[in-house]
């Protein structure tokens, strides 16, 4: 406990490390974000939504940046208790940025279908749903195995709407 308090009180080194780790994550994220938005021919609208809403989580991205950098701004004027809390918040922000990097790696390297299916499964906004499903069905030459997977999800969605109507 005393050891932790001494580290938190000697603010200089820890603050520098926290700032550098944040910058390192953001520096890696920028070229990856540019790479995953490359030219697409199939599933164009769906893939754009999967990248923005599921891989990068763009709606929460500013929040993640705030989690990483707000503790650094408030660090100097805080006591040990607040610094511990800020360290936890910073770690959560870094974990979220790490999650984005992990999903971006999966998107670029592996089969894209699992992430597409995950996104469609979690989607509940009717407007996004219509755009995403239109993008799926207008794509030609989908392998029959993936057609079955998409149709299974699609039918559970329609069944769900039917049940709600009852």
């Amino acid at each position: 406990m005393e050891f932790l308090a001494s580290i938190l009180n000697a603010s200089g080194d820890l603050l520098n490390i926290m700032g550098m780790v944040g910058i390192a994550f953001l520096t890696v994220l920028i070229p990856i974000a540019l790479a995953i938005f490359g030219d697409k021919k199939e599933f164009e609208d769906l893939d754009r939504n999967v990248i923005l809403d599921h891989v990068v989580k763009s709606r929460k991205f500013i929040g993640f940046i705030a989690l990483v950098y707000t503790p650094l701004l408030l660090w100097g004027s805080s006591n040990v208790v607040f610094r511990t809390a800020y360290l936890v918040l910073w770690a959560i922000g870094i974990a979220q940025l790490g999650g984005i990097l992990g999903r971006a790696y999966r998107w670029m390297k592996d089969n894209k279908y699992p992430l597409r299916l995950e996104y469609l499964e979690l989607l509940d906004n009717p407007e996004d749903l219509e755009v995403a499903w239109r993008s799926v069905w207008e794509t030609e030459n989908i392998e029959p195995q993936h057609e079955e997977e998409f149709f299974a999800l699609f039918s559970s969605l329609i069944d769900n709407y039917l049940q709600n109507y009852e």
């Binding site: 069905w137 207008e138 989908i142 079955e148 039918s155």
Partner: protein, 99 residues
């Protein structure tokens, strides 16, 4: 509720519009696909009937009618594809196994 019905109609409309993009394997030999379309057709037909009995708004009945037309269009396109590709025997056999 009306919103979900409209959304269902829109989703099935897009599926119908692009059903020709689906592979023959999926359209003709997939039992889940054909069964599901028939099941939805029956359920929506019943809903339209119930809606008439309950004297729900004309908007509901119109939406049910629209959904039914889209489902019938999907079935027509699948049958047409099976006939044109000479897969009607295999198609009928798959359907017969389901019944």
């Amino acid at each position: 509720m009306n919103k979900q019905l409209k959304s269902t109609s829109m989703l099935l409309g897009d599926f119908d519009r692009f059903v020709d993009n689906r592979s023959s394997v999926f359209q003709i030999y997939s039992p889940e696909f054909f069964l599901k379309i028939l099941e939805w057709h029956k359920l929506f037909w019943m809903k339209r009937y119930e809606s008439r009995e309950k004297k729900e708004g004309v908007q509901h009945r119109l939406l049910f009618g629209e959904i039914l037309r889209k489902l019938e269009s999907i079935l027509r396109k699948v049958e047409k594809k099976a006939l044109l590709e000479g897969s009607s025997y295999a198609c009928s056999k798959t359907r017969a196994r389901l019944c």
